[in-house]
């Protein structure tokens, strides 16, 4: 631990910046001294702007609303970027600009939200210069932010778009105990990552259980600073040490805001952890084994924070009742297993078993290939669950792809289902999206058509692909 503390002393030279940020003024409001220094909590703000598009009416569609609802023949209306109406029978506005799409025989769903992606931080091509997803210089790097490693030109974003993915969380990797902050993006190409940032989405924190941290550090034979953790014991000690420091740092910040005096030196790592303790930053924790997840729930209780979702969670089926009780989501694959010891007990019914226990189930990808067909992953899990006797409807299963991940990212007020007032993040599928033959035909983000399988003008080509074999090809 000493190494990273040392490294952060440099950062501490930057005492609390005197930034009078309106958006981050919550802390200052509690004190009466107007000179009190506040920290800008949003120094790299979203510059995302929805693409301007005419109002759209989709008619005659088979609709899964993402909240468990199913309409056999319905319409969805999007105006001003938002869903304004949907249902079997809606009032059609009198608007010359209204674009009507007859979706007879087609299915309409909310856009897929992948809450575990490394697009941009591990982009294509995966050359050495592009390894920006794991700051493996220390086991605790809560101070790094995935958005600072994202290459917005990753062609993978466009392939995910063609798979109906409208939002995603980009996470740091799982080498570290605390890997850093994740960020939520709208899947619309931008020149900078800020152009893609989901407006108003909270920050997240990536943490990791188990084999990865102890392999990268302890097994590294001292190649990386620290040498710890070497064991799962070291993992827990590492989390606890960091949280204890965060609790102490929060106390100093609170004292300063209450009583004034010298502000505590800025500490980017602890600011992230304090954000978790204050409930502003959501914890997403890579954890495979059931017994470890149960220990992490105790860890969170010990220091007074919440785990929002366990990721990979291949053994969630063993403790689905406890996860339901704790109100923690599991972000899972349909069928990955066996690539390491903690993945050895993976079963194909994990997702439906978690769902059946009343816990929050999410289908995630962690893959630039898997993200392109998350609907198929949900379909596999659904059918395996049904064969095991778990009766789950397709309408309910779609929650695994949209509303539940939206909840896990704190954006369920804005997106994740087809509901009036929500963002116009909608996909028209050529057929039942639980079929391998279905393809996303048209994808809308904030009411704008951002992908159209039948219109090359609505199929973005990244800078990297220009002048290369296959530029603009069917992907």
């Amino acid at each position: 631990m000493k190494h990273w503390i040392g490294a952060l002393m440099t950062g501490a030279l930057f005492a609390l910046a005197g930034c009078q940020d309106a958006g981050g003024s919550e802390d200052a409001a509690s004190g009466d001294d107007d000179d009190r220094i506040t920290i800008n909590k949003d120094p790299y703000p979203s510059t995302y702007e929805a693409i301007s598009f005419n109002p759209v009416l989709i008619t005659n569609a088979i609709i899964l609303d993402g909240e468990g609802g199913f309409i056999e023949n319905g319409s969805v209306l999007m105006q001003g970027g938002d869903i304004t109406a949907f249902g079997a029978d809606i009032d059609i506005p009198d608007d010359d600009k209204l674009i009507t799409i007859d979706a007879a025989g087609k299915w309409v769903t909310p856009g897929i939200i992948d809450n575990h992606s490394h697009l941009g931080v591990y982009p294509s091509p995966s050359v050495s210069a592009h390894n920006d997803g794991n700051e493996i210089s220390a086991p605790v790097t809560a101070e790094v932010w995935s958005e600072h490693g994202i290459w917005p030109q990753d062609p993978g974003f466009t392939r995910a778009l063609a798979g109906g993915v409208t939002s995603m969380q980009i996470l740091p990797g799982s080498a570290n105990l605390f890997g850093g902050r994740g960020v939520v993006l709208k899947n619309v190409p931008g020149r900078s990552v800020q152009d893609m940032k989901f407006p108003g989405a909270p920050y997240t924190l990536k943490m990791a259980c188990g084999e990865n941290p102890k392999r990268v550090y302890g097994y590294g034979g001292g190649r990386f600073p620290g040498g710890a953790p070497y064991s799962r014991m070291g993992n827990l000690a590492g989390y606890r040490t960091a949280w204890a420091e965060a609790v102490e740092y929060k106390r100093k910040l609170d004292d300063y805001l209450e009583d004034g005096g010298d502000p505590p030196a800025r500490n980017l790592e602890l600011e992230t952890l304090v954000g978790v303790l204050e409930g502003d930053i959501l914890v997403h924790m890579h954890c495979y084994r059931a017994d470890e997840m149960v220990q992490i729930l105790d860890l969170a209780d010990e220091f007074g924070y919440e785990v929002t979702s366990f990721h990979h969670a291949v053994e969630s089926y063993k403790i689905a009742d406890r996860l339901a009780e704790a109100g923690v989501c599991s972000s899972m694959w349909a069928d990955w297993w066996g690539f390491k010891m903690e993945a050895y007990d993976g079963v194909r019914e994990n997702i439906p078993m978690v769902h059946d226990a009343g816990a929050c189930a999410i289908v995630h990808s962690d893959s630039d290939i898997g993200i392109q067909r998350l609907n198929q992953e949900a379909a596999k899990a659904l059918s395996d669950g049904r064969r095991a006797g778990l009766e789950i409807s397709k309408a309910d299963a779609w929650q695994w792809l949209s509303l539940n991940p939206a909840k896990s990212l704190g954006v369920d007020e804005q997106t994740g289902s087809i509901a009036p007032g929500k963002d116009g993040d909608v996909v028209i599928w050529s057929a039942d999206p639980f079929s391998v033959y279905a393809q996303a035909e048209q994808v809308f983000v904030d009411g704008a058509l951002v992908f159209d399988r039948n219109d090359p003008a609505r199929q973005p080509v990244m800078d990297f692909e220009l002048g290369q074999p296959g530029e603009g090809d069917a992907k």
Partner: protein, 427 residues
């Protein structure tokens, strides 16, 4: 199907691989034959003594003593063949003690036989079988030599003796991966391959005077002998169009070689040349990203374009080829979504790999074929479908895996006299 499975639940372990004379009649099948007969609705498939005796649609009496299985109108296909996998070579990839895929520290190369490592009882074998795969092509991976060693073919029964050919092909890694291993460039990889070919073809004469060849040791040169004469297949991994053209040029200078190409993400760019050279390919229809500079032209229509050009094309799931080789069916379904016909996609995972690898009697439902078949609960290429029963060599196979045992242990947990974790399931 429920009734059938119940009937066989006791017989499975004795029937599998026992070679006992058994007659089965699968009735009311939607049989995809993999032959000119195409798809036959209402078919009856008769299996006698491990082989398919007949695929018919008439009402003739069933053979006496036949065990009758009503397929209830569902799909029946030949057993699926995974034309490129590493099933049975590893339990847990990250645990080197369980991982026999590659041997970077070995002083041997071509002499490495994957068959020596293959474990028919590996937990991945039944998992793959439960996806409908009855036959595996298993390749080693390259360690620190472009020559990874020799691969095998096997069935997925998990029984002793499940290896069909323990010396089926030599696997060679070219392209970016091969360049890195060979010393830093594609030129180095090709120089090594050409030198090795020369060593093998002059074995043993060259080695009478010297223990070492230009590229291969005595043992490796001997192991490369059959392939160098064209008596054994050479499987080459390459992706970039220019690498494939180099391979074609190489094969034209050594026309005796029997080459199959695996990977070929840019194969569509040189599809006509591949067809003219009669080099079959094994592709992964999922690959559509410029994941490296040798895959810039990757497209999900690669498979369709290769087939359209007349290239003999098989599909594999190259992503996780150790634990999820069965995803080859999902790969094939995605190929259909991207332009391949349903027939061609099924052929690419049955009869085509059987032809490529010379697996006589496999990949088709026809008289005298080996009794590998799968009864499905829907379209085999659909992600929501699964096998209800798998036959290998004419015998119904266990539909259990370690995964299904774990599932059953935790499914519908109810508090009992003992804690949840205190269990001993009975097989």
């Amino acid at each position: 199907m429920i009734r059938f499975i119940f009937l066989f639940s006791l017989a499975l372990f004795t029937a599998a691989g026992s070679g006992l004379a058994q007659t089965y009649a699968i009735t009311n099948a939607k049989a995809w034959t993999g032959t000119a007969r195409g798809l036959i609705e209402g078919a009856t498939i008769i299996i006698v003594d491990g082989r398919i005796a007949e695929v018919r649609t008439n009402d003739a009496a069933l053979p006496s003593g036949a065990t009758v299985i009503d397929a209830e109108g569902q799909w029946v296909t030949p057993g699926i063949i995974s034309p490129f996998s590493r099933v049975g070579l590893v339990e847990v990839n990250a645990e080197s003690s369980t991982n026999d895929i590659a041997a970077g520290s070995s002083s041997y190369s071509v002499a490495l036989k994957a068959a020596d490592s293959f474990n028919p009882r590996a937990s991945t074998v039944p998992v793959t079988r439960l996806d409908g795969v009855t036959r595996l092509v298993v390749a080693p991976n390259a360690g620190d030599d472009i020559f990874a060693g020799r691969g095998l073919t096997a069935n997925t029964s998990g029984a002793p003796g499940s290896i069909m050919d323990d010396d089926a092909f030599v696997y060679i890694r070219m392209g970016e991966g091969g360049a890195g291993i060979a010393g830093g460039s594609r030129s180095a990889a090709w120089a090594r391959l050409r030198a090795a070919l020369s060593d093998a073809r002059s074995f043993p004469a060259r080695y009478l005077a010297h223990n070492e060849g230009d590229a291969l040791t005595r043992v490796d040169a001997q192991a490369f002998g059959a392939a160098s004469r064209g008596d054994q297949m050479i499987m080459v991994e390459a992706h970039r169009a220019s690498d494939i053209l180099t391979l074609i040029a190489f094969s034209q200078r050594a026309p005796q070689l029997n080459i199959v190409l695996v990977g070929a993400d840019e194969g569509w760019l040189v599809a006509d040349e591949l067809a003219a050279a009669n080099i079959p390919v094994i592709v992964d229809p999922f690959q559509n990203l410029p994941a490296s500079f040798e895959q810039l032209g990757a497209t999900s229509e690669n498979a369709a374009r290769l087939i359209e050009a007349g290239v003999i094309t098989a599909f594999s799931h190259l992503g996780d080829n150790t634990h999820q080789s069965g995803l080859v069916l999902q790969s094939a379904g995605n190929a259909v979504a991207n332009g391949v016909s349903h027939d061609d996609a099924l052929a690419a995972i049955t009869i085509v790999p059987a032809v490529i690898f010379g697996m006589d009697g496999l990949g088709a439902l026809e008289p005298d074929a080996i009794g590998d078949l799968v009864i499905w609960d829907g379209d085999p290429l659909e992600v929501m479908s699964a096998p209800t029963q798998v036959f290998i060599d004419g015998a119904p196979q266990s539909m259990e895996s370690r995964q299904s045992r774990l599932r059953d242990r935790y499914l519908g947990m109810e508090p009992g006299d003992l804690p949840y974790a205190y269990k001993r399931d009975q097989e």
